[in-house]
Symmetry: C2
Subunit: 182 residues, 2 copies
């Protein structure tokens, strides 16, 4: 389990509502990591039960009330404890990879089409990440270093994927030519 820790990390330097967190997940970090609001609310509830976070009720006019959560001492302790523990390396569960593995069944053209679609998405992400990273770099605030580094991870990941996509493309094109020339 690790969503709880991701939440604690986000709450480290700001008070936030479940909705805020959901948005943060959906934007910057979320393009790499993702979590739905249901999960987040649930996890916040649990964290609250365990006194890792506390909240205050903020009535708003025009908008519904909200709960602003902040991390507690206990929460910070738990976070630090977790940080010290070695993490298991993640496994990639990429459906598209399974598709490539099963590629012999489908025709190259449909694979190529989807490859292009995915590449567009990745390129988009890459640009968002790069823009964010550039902004952080220019501001040069020391405490943003870690956010910057996570962005770099996202950037390198997208680049690696795009590189791979190119390899797949050329390989499939070669195959295409061979089969049509026969």
């Amino acid at each position: 389990m690790s969503l709880r820790h991701a939440i604690l990390v986000l709450l480290q330097d700001q008070e936030a509502s479940g909705y805020d967190l959901a948005r943060e997940f959906a934007n910057s970090i979320g393009l790499v990591w993702n979590a739905t609001h249901q999960q987040i609310y649930l996890e916040l509830g649990k964290l609250n039960d365990q006194h890792m976070v506390k909240f205050r009720h903020i009535p708003q006019d025009g908008k519904p009330d909200k709960k602003l959560y902040r991390i507690t001492e206990e929460g910070r302790d738990e976070l630090i404890r977790w940080l010290r523990k070695p993490a298991a390396p993640p496994r990639i569960r990429d459906a598209f990879m399974v598709k490539i593995a099963g590629g012999a069944l489908s025709d190259s053209s449909s694979i190529l089409r989807e490859l292009d679609d995915q590449a567009d998405l990745r390129r988009e992400r890459l640009h968002t990440f790069e823009a964010l990273a550039k902004k952080l770099d220019e501001q040069g605030r020391e405490k943003d270093l870690f956010t910057y580094l996570t962005l770099r991870r996202g950037i390198l990941d997208q680049q690696a994927w795009l590189h791979w996509a190119d390899e797949v493309k050329t390989a499939l094109n070669k195959r295409e030519i061979l089969s049509t020339s026969v």
Copy 2:
């Protein structure tokens, strides 16, 4: 869900038992993707209920009986249908990345230590993948192309990660020097 499709892909060209599949997951593909035998047996059961696979009982002496599964027409249809459907881009849930994001809390040295540990793992994987890829490449069998490409994905992924680790290292070292010189 996608494990079912991964299984169907593997059953495409060979009949296999749950145990065989588990081993395949644990080796070649499994280093990238992973699934425990419990999950696989469960999924095979479901696939059987849905007539996507069928099996025959093989009594063995010395060893326990086994069930050899093979894909059915329906299974192949389902697989093809799934291959046509665009896949959702995967989300990375990398605990280590969360750690970096929360890095301001922990000291650089402990991060660096874990970084090295993870890097060792990744380097090991990289070598396994490269060895397998080389073997496939030398054999040059046309139908292995897709397996080769999935391996390439794994290779590029490890390389990107190692590259990132270097960046993190130099960034943290710079920071270390700054803080100790003050």
